[in-house]
């Protein structure tokens, strides 16, 4: 079975139910909507703060929704037994699961791109006078690069779904990781700062915001990160792929 065939199978599976469409719509709508709200309500005096980086401040919304979609793409297969139907049709589990991961990650990437570019473009339409021109590599990276972060995050989410197999459990684990652990671990005295620099999502975020300021004076990313922008993305991707390798390896050995 060729890779193209397997990608087509996973594409049909994903798009023949309605929930991915809802997730994609919600991810773009909420992300773009929040930015538009900010652009529309910002005080004229603060207009200088409305930079390309600022238009991406709400990317976490869409990014979490797409991660939930990625988890559901795998856990619903376990819930409804279609994973068994899949393994009957494609006994090479590694290939089948990698194809699913690729389709979900690609989709998340496209949604991230739509949300990122959409948020920036709509802000520019609402506030043509704001400093929203994409002037340098940094500006481009923060607006156009957000899709890459979505993509890597989707790989992490699929892996979590594959390891835990239950929707509620996997989503809970994801939220604890992203919203709780990555925010609270840095608060540990003494070692917290060091830990923070290696937390995968924090590093992934650094790809977008390295060297940037969002809003008035708050740093969007910790200072003294171990990697630059692209190194951060690479680190995030390596963590995601390691997790995926673990999850797929286990799925290959476990009973379906």
């Amino acid at each position: 079975m060729t890779a193209l065939t397997l990608l087509k199978v996973e594409r049909i599976k994903l798009f023949s139910t309605r929930s991915p469409w809802w997730c994609m719509g919600a991810a773009v709508f909420i992300t773009v909507g929040f930015t538009a709200l900010l652009a529309a309500t910002i005080r004229p005096g603060d207009l200088g703060d409305l930079t390309p980086a600022t238009t991406q401040f709400s990317y976490n919304f869409g990014f979490l929704i797409m991660m939930v979609m990625a988890i559901l793409a795998i856990t619903t297969e376990y819930r409804f037994g279609t994973i068994r139907a899949t393994f009957l049709a494609v006994p090479n589990r590694v290939d089948a699961l990698l194809a699913k991961t690729a389709v979900v990650a690609l989709l998340a990437g496209l949604v991230g791109e739509a949300a990122g570019v959409g948020a920036w473009a709509l802000s520019k339409a609402i506030r043509p006078e704001a400093p929203l021109a994409l002037d340098n590599a940094q500006d481009y990276r923060v607006v156009v690069g957000v899709g890459l972060v979505y993509m890597v995050a989707a790989v992490v989410a699929v892996s979590i779904g594959l390891l835990i197999r239950h929707s509620a459990g996997a989503i809970t684990a994801l939220l604890i990781w992203v919203l709780v652990a990555e925010n609270l671990l840095p608060a540990i005295p003494r070692v917290g700062d060091t830990i923070q620099k290696w937390l995968p999502f924090t590093v992934g975020n650094n790809f977008l915001y390295a060297g940037q300021q969002v809003g008035q004076d708050n740093d969007a990313t910790p200072t003294n990160m171990p990697f630059g922008a692209w190194g951060s993305l690479l680190y995030f991707a390596v963590v995601a792929l390691a997790l995926l390798a673990l999850a797929v390896g286990l799925a290959k050995r476990r009973d379906a």
Binding site: M1, T5, L6, K8, V9, I12, K13, S16, T17, R18, S19, T76, F80, G81, T82, R84, A85, T86, F87, L88, A89, V90, P91, N92, R253, D255, A256
Partner: protein, 350 residues
């Protein structure tokens, strides 16, 4: 052909399948018989490469399932009709299956027609009745026109009409020369469906034989005979060297004799030579249930009676199933058998 060799599966402390060796021949319907919790589903999952055997192995036409290229073209399976996303249409479900094994799209429409789902093919599968889900599962199994087919309890929970449909379908598949391996915990159903039997209890092989031989071997041969002069009849039988027992009058008939180890020919001739009038002379065929008890000894617990009065906890749909389908005279009485109650409950809970 399916060959299992020393197949064993352990889940934690449960030994679900224990050193199972059997073969399923091509071109026949082979029944896979055993009470709930006997390990039928587990065995089928291992045949299909879904569960990994703890020991032993199983091959389909000499190959492991996981080594088959485009397996749907070789093996079709219906393990659980619910293995469909409820928000996906039947057509979409079959389409991704077809694409995965490079089967043409028109094959999807063909199998939908074969199982009679064409009209509802674009509706979401979650809204289907059990019978329709079962048909969709069969359509999926037929998609690659495979030579080997596996069905796990296909009639479970179906209404009599659905049961009849499935039964006829199995026969058609075998008539077309396919290998059909179908599991059931209902002996009466297997007697109607299967030519050969693989019988298991508590994960172990109990018998592999033809269905007829299984019944004959276990039931022995006895003859029910009745006439106005039962006492003389008994004497005549005794003088002919036959042992006869009295059976009291029941709802099924008045008091009679049961003669063991004889044919109706022998009993009739003895009575005729003595000039005795007979009101009844009939061979007694043992039911599969009796056969099973005889062969397994204490391996399973067996219950008989009105299924409505003696349902198995949590399995009413099973209790109401195919026994007593009209037009099946001489069939085993309505009956239901279970493993130990705990095992039955565990199996239901899955």
């Amino acid at each position: 052909m399916i060959e299992a060799n020393g197949l064993t599966k352990r889940y934690g402390r449960t030994l679900a399948v224990n050193d199972l060796t059997f073969t399923v021949q091509a071109g026949r319907v082979t029944g896979f018989l055993g009470p709930n919790g006997a390990g039928k589903s587990t065995t089928m999952r291992m045949i299909l490469g879904l569960d990994r055997p703890t020991a032993g192995g199983v091959r389909i036409d000499g190959k492991r399932y996981t080594d088959l290229k485009e397996p749907l073209r070789h093996v079709g399976a219906l393990l659980d009709a619910k293995w469909v996303h409820p928000n996906r249409s039947a057509r979409a479900h079959l389409r991704w299956l077809a694409v995965s094994n490079k089967l043409p799209d028109k094959r999807v429409d063909e199998v939908l027609g074969l199982v009679g789902l064409t009209d509802v093919a674009n509706r979401r599968a979650g809204g289907y009745s059990l019978g329709m889900s079962q048909r969709l599962g069969i359509a999926g199994a037929l998609l690659g026109d495979p030579g080997v087919m596996l069905f796990d309890e296909p009639v479970n929970g179906l209404d009599p009409e659905g049961i009849l449909w499935i039964r006829q379908f199995m026969h058609r598949l075998a008539d077309e020369g396919r290998t059909v391996f179908v599991s059931s915990h209902l002996l009466s159903e297997m007697a109607l469906t299967a030519q050969d039997l693989v019988v298991i209890g508590r994960g172990r092989l109990i018998a592999q034989t033809s269905t007829r031989a299984f019944i004959d071997a276990a039931s022995g041969s006895s003859v029910r005979v009745r006439g106005p002069e039962l006492d003389r009849l008994r004497e005549v039988m005794a003088s002919g060297g036959l042992k006869a027992d009295d059976t009291p009058a029941t709802a099924e008939g008045p008091a009679a004799l049961v003669v063991h180890g004889a044919t109706t020919d022998a009993v009739g001739e003895l009575a005729g030579r003595a000039g005795l009038v007979l009101h009844e002379l009939a061979a007694q065929r043992g039911s599969l249930e009796q056969a099973f008890i005889q062969m397994t000894g204490g391996d399973v617990e067996y219950r008989t009676g009105d299924p409505a009065l003696a349902p198995v906890a949590g399995a009413p749909s099973v209790a109401g199933a195919p026994v007593g389908v009209p037009g099946q005279p001489g069939e085993a009485p309505a009956s239901q058998w279970t493993g130990t109650p705990a095992a039955a409950r565990k199996a239901d809970a899955r």
